[in-house]
Amino acid sequence: MDALSHLMHGFSNALQPAVLMYGFLGCLVGTLVGVLPGIGPALTIALLLPLTFKAPATAMFVLFAGIYYGAMYGGSTTSILLNTPGESASVVTALEGNRMARRGMAGPALATAAIGSFIAGTIGTIALTFFSPMIVESALLFGPAEYFSLMLLALVAVTSVLGNSLLRGLVSLNLGLLFGMVGVDLQTGQHRFAFGQAELLDGLEVTIVAVGLFAVGEAMFMAWKGHAAEGKVEKISGSLWLDREGWRRSWKPWLRGTFFGFPIGAMPAGGAELPTLLSYYTEKKLSRHPEEFGNGAIEGVAGPEAANNAAAAGVLMPLLTLGIPTSATAAILLSAFTSYGIAPGPLLFEQQADLVWTLIASLYVGNVILLVLNLPLVGLWVQLLRIPAPWLYGGIILISTAGVYGASSSIFDVGMLYAFGLLGFVMRRFDAPVAPMVMGLILGPMAEQSMRQALTISAGDFTTFATRPISGTILAIAALMLIVPRVMRARK
């Protein structure tokens, strides 16, 4: 196979000691960036862009790839240990992951996340190597109508994260949808809910809202509970690693998560959040112990973590095969390509074969490095929980603030962070789940924009959503997801 011999050549480049060092450095920086709330791979790579004037292309892309994959690994750590996801793709991981940590199972949660990330990342990279053109062509069949239907499907899946009280869950979700309206409307340029604030014109930054609601809100809640909270940050019990049971319950979610993550990541408007949500929904429905969900079900960590890493690999496909960036990080990588005078596009594989295959090979290598880096770190990370709560949460506030301010150097954003922190605190106080709000903020604008794009294209004809075959099929699945469980319950 042609791809195979190219890949072998790529490995021969990627395994040179100097290139390996770049990969290792990237993985290390990426893991760190993933762990710190508020700072993402896109920003980190953007800040390193000036280096492209000085360093050779291969080295830089291996470094960037390491940062990109590393951030995906690191993102789960704080979600699980501290209920403070550093980026939106790890929000779903926090749901079960943190519950597991509270039951003293932080070790297995981190391990299933790391191994799941490795498996999904590797399968994703294999698919990237051999099936890119095919998958990208299929992804191109998705137009605005299909995305809207997919968003409706996702909104059905959100029901799985609403928590115990339907009312509170829906209030949280709807507030999220409302927050998603803030800013300049893409289709008309009209200002909505910006109250004359220039800072609000681009809408609410999902990262700031997520870090505020989760990290700052959690810290405030812990402070409010005071000494009652002590001893709540659970001691580690049991094995640090996955036991036989853990493996048995994890492997299917890993594969299913990969299956969701990779194609959706490859879609031009897919993203990494949607597959994590679909994976969580699926695992909850398929689980033999649905009652464990909400109390730390390992499937609810394994699936979403595999999904977001597979999505990360998926994002690279349209970038490398067509030159189409589908995420913030991909857009920055694209500008890194152009600053070398390399134009990613349909001809990239022919014109820059050496670079592309070294990059792909380094993704395999990076995955191995990250597994080797992260598994031993599990033992170190769980030590975080030994830090007394006031120090730990004080540190979280400090790091969140520094991360948000560092990303934008805007005091306004820091104010937003605390405002959402306060909201997160109030919601915790009254036992309302915060995850649906973040999901609403992510899904709302995507659903709205794709619906209006589809209607502009169809000249206002609403039947377009049902008559286009893929869109109609997705709508039918969404309808079944709503109806079937009720029918089953009624028959029992």
């Binding site: 450095l25 953007a46 220039a198 067509l322 349909p346 502009t456």
Partner: protein
Amino acid sequence: MKTTRREFLLTAGALGAATLPWPALAAPLFESIFMFVPAAPGGGWDGTARAIEQACKTADLVGAFQFENVGGSGGMVGLPRFVNQRKAQANAIMVAGSVMIGAAISAKSPIGIQNVVPIAKLTEESGVIVVPNNSPIKSFAELVAAFKADPRKVPVAGGSAGGTDHILLGLMLKALGRNPKEGAYVAFAGGGPANAAIIGGQVAAGISGYSEFEEQIKGGRMRPLAVSGEARIPGVNVPTLREQGMNVVSANWRGVFGAPGIQAPQRAALEHLVSAMKDTAGWKQILTTRRWADSYQAGSAFEKYLAQDVADTVGVMKDLGLA
């Protein structure tokens, strides 16, 4: 493409040192320049600013650069900050361009590009009108015919509403005697999704800066019908709108501006710096690798160009119902 250990160490060191000032050897024109970018790192304005830094440092024109990026809303978050915080600062420059003019109008902001001091226009990029490769529309004349029949049936993909792509569609429809508001403009956030919608055949046509579509055109996935500049793009065999009988010209330009309240000699010093920078070999090299068209213009010529651009933009945005 091999990497030596030395290169690795240099780069690893540079990871930390990238933002530190480097000592210059010859006497530079400016000890230091404060570079303000009203956009996030990684975008077009940021790329332009970093390229200016690169060219100035290579030629020892400037001792040190200090960067500040304040992104958001086509520059409307950053611009007021530059105006307020850098008043009369002689060594402060800001990168901006046509996008900011439209953004200021649609934001109805009291602070606009008139509040900063124009130094020079540096680069310009033509827009291009494309159709998917397998589209039934094969020529510009056929696209015009489709627009004339009913613009609502010809969905056109581009960037956010009120941006340069949308404005170009408005200008074209107006030139055809249609109401610009009739256009079925489908706004996409960022070039990626717009590209995908066009090559996936989800829309009838697309408009963007040439570089955004260049690789798809070369790869045979998009068919270019016309470019929007005064003249053809060098090396690109696509006729302009004017050549095809439509009197519309538009281009996305980028340039540099000084802080409000600087004195005439201070402004002249900045103009001198930019003029010297654009003549360096380093800058010319960057223009080639990035495929930016050199459109250097300074002084009163640039001021006149700006005034005209603002007036034109206001006009078409009113037609589009955005101002």
